[in-house]
Symmetry: C2
Subunit: 282 residues, 2 copies
């Protein structure tokens, strides 16, 4: 136990004075189960053998330009996304609050929200908590949506929360949405697929409806900041043709899909929100 | 390939300018096979599944205070030590040069050197290269010694290089050595075992003979510097009762084993050389 605590001190998660150890402020905020900002569950997802093992064959992934089909994390109904929904919600809360604020401050009247690949559901749920008139429709694979529904219940917004199970590329979204959320999604796919998906989203929106994209966005040099830039390798190792897109690439995808008024909102986390408005029909 | 190169740039192993990449000075010195200081082979040892897998069950190792017998890296004839001998020599060269200098500067006349758990053999071989009158006797398991002998041949010192195969705790070293090398060894064992082993070494030395210990030595706080302090966890995960010892613990082991005039020589690497002289019989 002494060796473990010394190691955690070397890592900066504990402070040692004489032979006593205590949590550092960061560990106390994010790694204590008593803290509302507890992030420890994220390790359950990020260290899944199905994700770690992709790096055992990184050379092959680089030769191919993407992962072999057996390692594809975005394959249909991959059960890792249920684990994702359970484990990753806490790490997404700062972005969820920022999105809810942005959506609320730019909305007037009705607020029908389409939450795509909703996962844990917290992006939509947080909007519903912030905006009492908001109604959420969450799309994801069925088993994942049970986690989102549970979170909607816990947040007391279940009356304004509907689910639409299925593959987001195939399911009929319906139309008339004010806002569509495309969070942590585009980096799994190549640019043409992203554009096509955003076109589908565009069709589901009302005139002047908005899309909210959440991504890890590297600078144009693609080697900074470290987390968004490094994330491309994770996608190379785990998807057939995904990567972290620069802002100009995302802008191109959005414009090609019929969006305009594109704005970027970097967060204090390594994430960036990109908002855009449905362009008038040409 | 672009994503890989960007990632290596994030890590500081490449520099990127426009769309061109080049090695950083550090990568050029240590990660190019054209460099005499190439360290890439070390990954072959440090990433062996037999070593990495010990961390899959770290909780159990911490509960036990050491690894389960099946994961014990110091078990008899573990083939990982042949891999160690082949892979880790380059990383040990700075310490090997420092030891050869220390031994040469404090020697007069004959130089019979006992190189214990010799591995790649480079500690003894480097002494033989530096001191033309030195004769080396290398102890290790038989398959490991074939690597050491090959290195002695390559260095042109094979005429002054003998091997003594067997378990260093059991094999008869003989007597009359001027110097004994105990490098990267003590951290695998508990203090009582270290002291007993050093007693055996003491008996093999001439009067006034010296022992040279090479270790990762944390400060008395056991949480700095990061590499020696953190190394204790590696030993907890991979040995039944090993750890990185502080200087005062090593001093105690050496005094209890009959050594005196103990001096510490920190290296520019994270390693420390500890030298001591055989005390006169009491």
């Amino acid at each position: 136990m002494r060796i473990l605590c010394d190691y955690l001190t070397v890592l900066g998660l504990l402070e040692k004075a004489d032979d006593h150890y205590q949590l550092t402020p960061e560990a106390s905020a994010f790694l204590s189960k008593r803290s509302p900002a507890y992030l420890g569950t994220t390790a359950q997802f990020l260290l899944l053998p199905g994700l770690k093992n992709n790096f055992d064959d990184l050379t092959e992934a680089i030769r191919r330009g993407g992962v072999a089909p057996s390692g594809n994390t975005v394959a249909d109904e991959n059960p890792i996304w249920v684990e994702f929904a359970r484990a990753m919600a806490p790490m997404m809360m700062p972005a969820a609050f920022a999105i809810a604020d942005l959506v609320a401050s730019s909305s007037t009247g009705s607020l029908r929200v389409l939450d795509l690949a909703a996962g844990h559901g917290m992006f939509g749920v947080t909007i519903a908590q912030k905006s009492p008139s908001a109604e959420i429709v969450a799309v994801d694979w069925g088993p994942v949506l049970t986690v989102a529904q549970e979170n909607a219940r816990l947040a007391g917004v279940q009356d304004r929360y509907r689910t639409l199970p299925g593959d987001a590329f195939k399911v009929d979204f319906g139309t008339g949405y004010d806002v569509a959320l495309v969070t942590n999604f585009l980096h799994h796919f190549d640019q043409a697929t992203c554009t096509k998906f955003l076109q589908k989203v565009n069709h589901a929106l009302k005139p002047d409806g908005r899309v909210v994209v959440l991504e890890l966005v590297p600078n144009p040099d693609r080697v900074s900041p470290p987390i968004p830039a490094g994330f491309s390798l994770t996608m190379l190792a785990g998807t057939p043709s995904g990567q972290a897109y620069t802002l100009s690439e995302l802008r191109q995808q959005l414009e090609d899909a019929g969006f305009t008024d594109i704005s970027a909102h970097p967060l204090p986390t390594p994430q960036t929100i990109v908002m855009a408005r449905k362009a008038a029909a040409r």
